[in-house]
Subunit: 700 residues, 2 copies
């Protein structure tokens, strides 16, 4: 647990603002700590009381004789800051500040919160909150919160940025029997954040799955590092809210959090092995499954049912969610054929028929679980005249125990007549649902984790040769000096070239004669383009001439472009005309970058050309820790990859060259945070090599 | 009810194959009919018994003195056929055949089933089944089935192709308190099908919502007609299984049903106003909501919550599902501002804060329900120290009753502490859920219905002038005579032209000289194309020459193409070279048709050109009853529509011309069922008019 040990397993706890009055937060905390069975020192602090709940009450933390590990502070905001100083002087290690009235109420509160953090830093104290519900550990046990009720002990750690959500889930969990290892209410996250608690729970032997509800992430870079490490050890499932436009507005009015873009969160979660839950039900369904079942080794699902229709529904659901129906091997087919009635369906879904008793279910389950082509099993029980709900449920538990490496789920499609079966399964930790689609959705989520975890690998930085940051630095220096935010084509070409990106040569000409001179040096054919960062769609205003083959055409083209552009933009500054080597046509791609507030540069790849925005065939990855393998996965997500593999008999493109450009772009934008946005559109992919044609770089 | 009256409300019922032995189906049916409270005549028939369950037993249906409306047959398949004849002779109106052993067991069973249908037709009897569970009506009441338990009376009609599914749902419904009006087990659908029962339920005053589980549709055309009429009257929600590849396999091994393609089902459902449920939970969540709540007038949702985090989650969910967050009017904002504490969020989602009691919820709910910008309401209750679950639940019921035209849903995010509130809501028919996303998903489904219903309109056939079927008939006659399945370009062009589709003129030339002659008549520039249905990608093998401007180029082109093609396809029959008028370039579209086994021609529209299969930007509609408005909706679903509206400053295309081609294509393929497939790719759209460039027609 490291630094967080004094939060979850303190040797002593002081409650500052402890109260004798039921209904007050300061009273609830004292009662909860005692009630949770916490067996070490508890020190209520309140200058107006002598004793609270049978414990000696101290007027001030300074009066407590022994060292205090954890102080829970529940006094108004301004007082809390003062008290924090006293705690620091008394040598307290950790603070939980439940008091509200900080950042969430505006400017004055923010000032108080900053002061609170300053004090904590001064004395080396760590801080949870302010404006939080508190913290629980069911294994210590301790309930240092003001939330009513202490959950059952279990192996799920739940970290919530919303106190109300946490309280609601605790209340709900008591009626469903879900157990938790730790419960953390993050509050305003002034010091400790989700990252700290995810990292801690990853090393907690009592925790098997980590659950988070968050509205924003405090430090994207730190989060990525922690999440990558944690998700290799155990599943981390996050419900991130504030995804929508309106949702983001609500988030910012709620916690004053600056919500990052939804896409960046999606990308960051996936790249760091986090499972993103889509709904609250999804979050808890997954948590319960991970808490009791092994992670499936693959995506092949077997179904055993006593009714055809529900078997079809399950099959549909399996295919719809990207899982696959297992194809059984010969031994399995043989075992099913010899053990089941002749009318049974012995292929997947196995239909043991409506008159099946437990023996047929058993035979079918054991046969398919023994099959190496089966990664997980869904058993459906529909009520019939002969259904033995409880006995069949027990046989499911036995089948699961005999093959504990494969997850098993049940759908008991009925009500009271199957309730006994549900109880048997629930007691044995086999998840069961009313409808089979829930089971399939859970398996799909678990399989996603198994795939993400397989992908998690040591992030060896890709080594790139032929990179010269000095050239880039020089160009950016000049651009800044001139007060520009957009690089000229000739500058962008040099920047890209300095990082080994095969950019078509571009040079700027101020006059027709200079253009002709450059053309002579470059060689024909050439493209001429107006050089003006203000003009976005150059082709549309006659600002581009292609296929220039002679010096005469260069001079004419120069004049023609100037005339065309002047007609459309009479008052726009023109830097001149760019002379660019004309490259042979290839598959048109886009490689780009936009910078996310939380997670830094996001690299984009997809179909290029003028229809980029229309087709939206673009995949994203964070530049941070981007590997060759991840780039390949990113390319495969797009329709562009179909073209690159050789569409309709065309020659395949040089994918290695494309990967190289993407990695070099990632390196460039990582090395130079001043690059705000970058677009290479198009990149031409050839059967050998590739060319970056039009490179747009914006700096900040 | 019309013809189905004798099923649901018979004056008398005979049970043929009635039994005294508990556990036997023939016993269960007698017991169920008596137990359901059916108060009219019941006649058990069994030659070996004198009396069953206190009722006189008849040796044969002929011995029953009075007329029998409904006979439920439960004897082995071969016997059932014989008994059906006796029923016919005795003047029975309707048969429910629960016996299995028909189509579902193979060839012999199919023969028996055909004979059974023949007998029913002979005597004018209608038939439900065979291989079904039976039929129920809770309002008559009657339970003419062998399923255990009779559901509570309600307003949901449930029609199921799977008997097991039906039994499971009945069992489940008893523990959830969901009531039904009618329950129908379709079985093999030898005579009566889902369409008959949907049509019947649409006119049933006791039914408010129609629910179906189906694996296939018996007669697509009939279904479309019935569904269109029914869905205007009340919501029809269908869970159609067998959607996936593997699912379709399972369906065909299960009921011998021939599953149509999933896309055609999707299209048919949408075009006929049917709501397609995605999961079983979805099916029943929607059913319960429709059964108690009004259909929302629009997509604007208001949220009232006592906690911020869950409010954000709800907001996300609303935006994710295509609904919108209501923007309150001034009066509402003013009412909320003056009635709620200053820290509350008075914009949507309305946060009445964690210390809210019932009065604040009441004020907020009544204010937003009075707002004309609110179409539906979701209320979230999170447990806090002061939450008054039951009283607040009662206030939700009151708010709903004061505005019964707007649907209200609750999410009670907790367990035991809120159970009292759930009970209050459930008793009053206000749907409540644990998590808010379910409420949002239900509102989304209901809103989809409200939108579909608005769209349902009188299907006036679009009148098309300038259509000449005789030309088409002649060409197809010739093609068939020659034993071909694919039309030549010149033939396709004539066929399209005969239906007023602006096809570029194409004529077939057998020699260079004939080509030059045709060229002279057509005028330049021209395109030459090899005429051979075997060669699919003509450009790839040098089979196309464009921009032909002189007679000399025509002759040279002819020879060149012949040489190129011979090199690739030395043994392929070449009909000659097609000379086509070269049309100016425009936005490339595809308009096509594929024929679905169930629903007939499916019209496709989208981005055209060589990347059709890659980009998959195609929308579909059934040709059957296709209206101008529906075509416009279809176009809007595609990215092509963005291009047509004028992308990046280009002139908008002539959408009316495109709509016209689509409607004419629909008319052509409807008039000529011999057309198996048709592709116009590309269609060039211009700012005025459009041209069909390459038309491929396959006949069967």
């Amino acid at each position: 647990m490291g630094v967080l040990k004094s939060f979850f397993s303190p040797e002593s706890v002081a409650i500052i603002g402890a109260s004798k009055t039921p209904g007050k937060i300061g009273h609830a905390i004292v009662k909860n700590i005692i009630g949770s069975g916490y067996s070490r020192e508890i020190y209520p602090v309140n200058p107006r009381e002598k004793e609270i709940e049978g414990l000696k009450c101290y007027p001030d933390i300074a009066f407590i004789e022994k060292k205090v590990d954890l102080a829970v502070i529940s006094v108004p905001a301004a007082g809390a800051v003062k008290v924090a100083g006293q705690c620091g002087r008394a040598g307290v290690k950790s603070l939980v500040v439940v008091s509200a009235g900080f950042k969430e109420v505006g400017k004055e509160g923010l000032a108080l919160e900053k002061e609170l953090v300053r004090i904590c830093r001064e004395y080396g104290m760590r801080l949870l909150g302010p404006n939080c519900v508190g913290i629980m550990d069911t294994h210590v046990p301790i309930n240092a919160s003001f939330s009513e009720g202490f959950p059952a002990a279990g192996n799920i750690a739940f970290i919530s940025q919303s106190g109300a959500m946490l309280v609601a889930i605790l209340d709900w969990s008591r009626s469903t029997g879900i157990g938790f290892s730790k419960i953390i209410s993050l509050g305003n996250k002034a010091d400790l954040t989700e990252s700290d608690f995810i990292g801690d729970a990853a090393d907690d032997p009592n925790t098997r799955v980590i659950l988070c509800y968050i509205e924003d992430i405090a430090d994207g870079k730190h989060f990525l590092k922690i999440a990558r490490e944690a998700s290799v050890k155990k599943p981390v499932i996050i419900l991130k809210s504030g995804t929508s436009q309106a949702g983001a507005q609500a988030a910012s009015s709620h916690t004053g959090a600056l919500a990052g873009s939804n896409l960046a969160y999606d990308t960051a979660f996936r790249q760091s092995g986090i499972i993103r839950a889509s709904t609250m039900a999804d979050l808890f369904d997954l948590a319960v499954a991970f808490s009791s079942q092994p992670v499936p080794g693959g995506s092949r699902v077997a179904v055993v049912t006593n009714a055809g229709g529900p078997g079809i529904v399950t099959t549909d659901s399996i295919e719809d969610t990207g899982l696959t129906m297992s194809r059984f091997n010969k031994n399995t087919i043989e075992a099913l054929r010899s053990g089941l009635p002749v009318e049974s369906n012995i292929y997947n879904p196995v239909d043991v028929l409506g008159d099946a008793k437990t023996d047929r279910f058993s035979l079918a389950m054991n046969s398919v679980l023994a099959d190496e082509n089966v990664d997980s099993l869904v058993v459906l029980i529909c009520p019939t005249a002969v259904t033995e709900a409880e006995e069949t449920a027990r046989s499911i538990v036995e089948a699961h125990r005999s093959r504990p490496d494969k997850p098993v789920f049940a759908a008991l499609m009925g009500g009271e007549s199957l309730a006994g079966g549900s109880a048997v399964l629930s007691a044995a930790g086999v998840p069961s649902y009313t409808f089979p689609e829930t089971a399939v959705s859970v398996i799909s989520g678990m399989t996603r984790y198994s795939r993400l975890r397989q992908k998690s690998e040591a992030l060896a930085a890709e080594k790139l040769s032929g990179v010269d940051p000095r050239v880039v630095k020089e160009i950016f220096g000049k651009v800044k000096e001139e007060g520009r935010l957009v690089l000229l084509g000739s500058e962008s070409s040099l920047v890209a070239g300095a990082y080994g990106i095969p950019a078509a040569p571009v040079r700027l000409a101020a006059s027709p004669d200079e253009a002709a001179l450059i053309a002579g040096e470059m060689g024909y054919p050439l493209v001429l383009k107006v050089a003006s960062p203000k003009i976005l769609h150059k082709t549309d205003v006659g600002g581009v001439k292609i296929g220039i083959k002679t010096a005469e055409e260069v001079r004419e083209g120069f004049m023609g472009i100037m005339e065309n552009v002047y007609r459309h933009f009479p008052r726009t500054a023109i830097h001149g005309i760019e002379v660019q080597k004309m490259m042979p046509g290839g598959t048109e791609l886009i490689i780009g970058m936009s910078r996310d507030v939380q997670f830094g540069p996001l690299i984009a790849f997809g179909l290029g050309g003028i229809y980029v925005n229309l087709l939206k065939d673009v995949a994203f990855r964070l530049a941070d820790g981007l590997t060759r393998r991840e780039v390949l996965a990113m390319i495969s997500e797009t329709k562009a990859s179909t073209l690159l593999r050789g569409y309709r008999g065309e020659e395949p493109a040089d994918i290695e060259a494309i990967i190289d450009i993407i990695l070099r772009t990632a390196a460039l934008v990582t090395d130079f945070p001043t690059i705000a946005e970058m677009d290479i559109n198009p990149v031409f992919a050839y059967s050998k090599g590739a060319s970056a044609l039009d490179i747009k770089i914006t700096v900040s």
